[in-house]
């Protein structure tokens, strides 16, 4: 598994740069990851990211957009405003979770 340095710390990532160790994550890293994909974190961003983290802990997998909106009560359209173009992928990236697998 490759590693990379974010905010001066070494973290494990996959080939596409998604963090692979749940416990290596913190908000400082998340902010740096967000900045890398040109997203400036606001309170609203953090609420979504923390929902993803909490849900992953229970379910063992990255929630889909449908789950984030149905279970977390967030508005789908707003997800596209906060994390433009590819919200599911960008949220997972910032939350330090595996890339959501578009089921086949």
């Amino acid at each position: 598994m490759p590693t990379t340095t974010i905010s001066g710390r070494e973290v494990s990532v996959d080939d596409e740069g998604f963090m692979t160790e749940y416990d290596q994550w913190d908000e400082t890293l998340a902010a740096a990851l967000a900045a890398a994909i040109e997203i400036e974190m606001t309170d609203e961003h953090w609420r979504v990211i923390h929902f993803l983290r909490d849900d992953f802990k229970v379910q063992g997998e990255t929630p889909t957009i449908r789950r984030i909106t149905n279970t977390g009560g967030f508005d789908t359209k707003q997800m596209f405003v906060l994390f433009p173009k590819k919200p599911a992928k960008k949220m997972a990236y910032i939350a330090g979770l595996p890339k959501p697998h578009g089921c086949v």
Partner: protein, 409 residues
Amino acid sequence: MRNILILGGGTAGTMTANKLRKALPSSQWSITVVDADDAHHYQPGFIFTPFGTYQPDEVTRSRRKFLNKNIPLVYGTIDKVHPDSQRILLLDGRELSYDMLIIATGVIPRPDQTPGMLEGEWRKSIHEFYTYEGSIALAEKLKSWPGGKLVINIVDMPIKCPVAPLEFAFLSDAFFANKGMRDKVNITYVTPLPGAFTKPLAAQAFGDTLEEKGITVEPDFMLERVDPEAKMLVSYDEREIPFDLLVSIPLNMGAEYVARSGLGNELNLVPVDKFTQISKAHDTIFALGDANDIPASKAGSVAHFEVDIFIDNFLLHIAGKEMTHKFDGHANCFIETGHKKAMLIDFNYDVEPLTGKYPYRIGPLSLLKQTRMNHIGKLAFRWTYWNILMPGHSMPVPVLMSMSGKVKE
């Protein structure tokens, strides 16, 4: 006497019932199947119906006829499962109790889940081919459609037979070419995925095939609503795609009783262990085929391989032993590409579709390549489905995915 209830007499339910009946003594276990009606559809045939290749009566058989005669089939609509008291309630008030419950009621397309889809243009300029009625209505539409903008849209994943929308695109290209009107039809493939398919090698191969056939791909498109007056798809990030004919693959959801019984996730799919398909919440419930939430294709081939592994595990489970067999997510799908050719993919949870030969190193089928032999394989499959798979006979192919014949990079 203990009893097994199987909810759903489709692909997974029928195979499971017939195989369990052979594996368990009738003196100790009764097996009952519940379904709303007697029409067992050969769903892979729905891709051919719109183009007039299959007539409606070629894709339907009696559920009763394909179940072992020692398996009662109860006709009824399921209202609710009560997992704690181990009984199910039918809408007409009848109750059935179980020792072990197998949920195999699949998924259905839900156009009602997208605003605008059912308003005004449904079955006029907006169609689908995932139901018996829908595939027939679309066949009628295509007979006289003068051409224009044909848009094929997947609302969200997961869907039944994830390659079927691609097949529809390829077969449309061939259909209009054969009618001498391909130049009057503009085909756009609109998908929430980042490309033609999820797994890299297959996405590349299918993407190339779409391009070769002059079909435009619009990726990362998450549909918010359909505007039936302007005839437009509108995404959550406000992209608009106009259509003259929309062939939609609506959101797929599990049965409503699953939600009412508190057994489903946000898509009414039953959360199960991905290796054994036992419910994560109840050790007297399994969910097989499309009805569960395993990260594999929702496809008959997956149900077939899954049921084979399930039988061995189930026998251990009811004997109070640990389930030691592991389903690997094996899927095997033909993709019709038009002009009497087809592609084939074979993959599982861990190995993406690769190129090579199937089965084993000799073929005669080729993976991720368009060949005539693959097309013959696909057509022969309808016979195999009714005569080998449904009665629960064995197929001469490996149950778990095999690397034999596949080309590794």
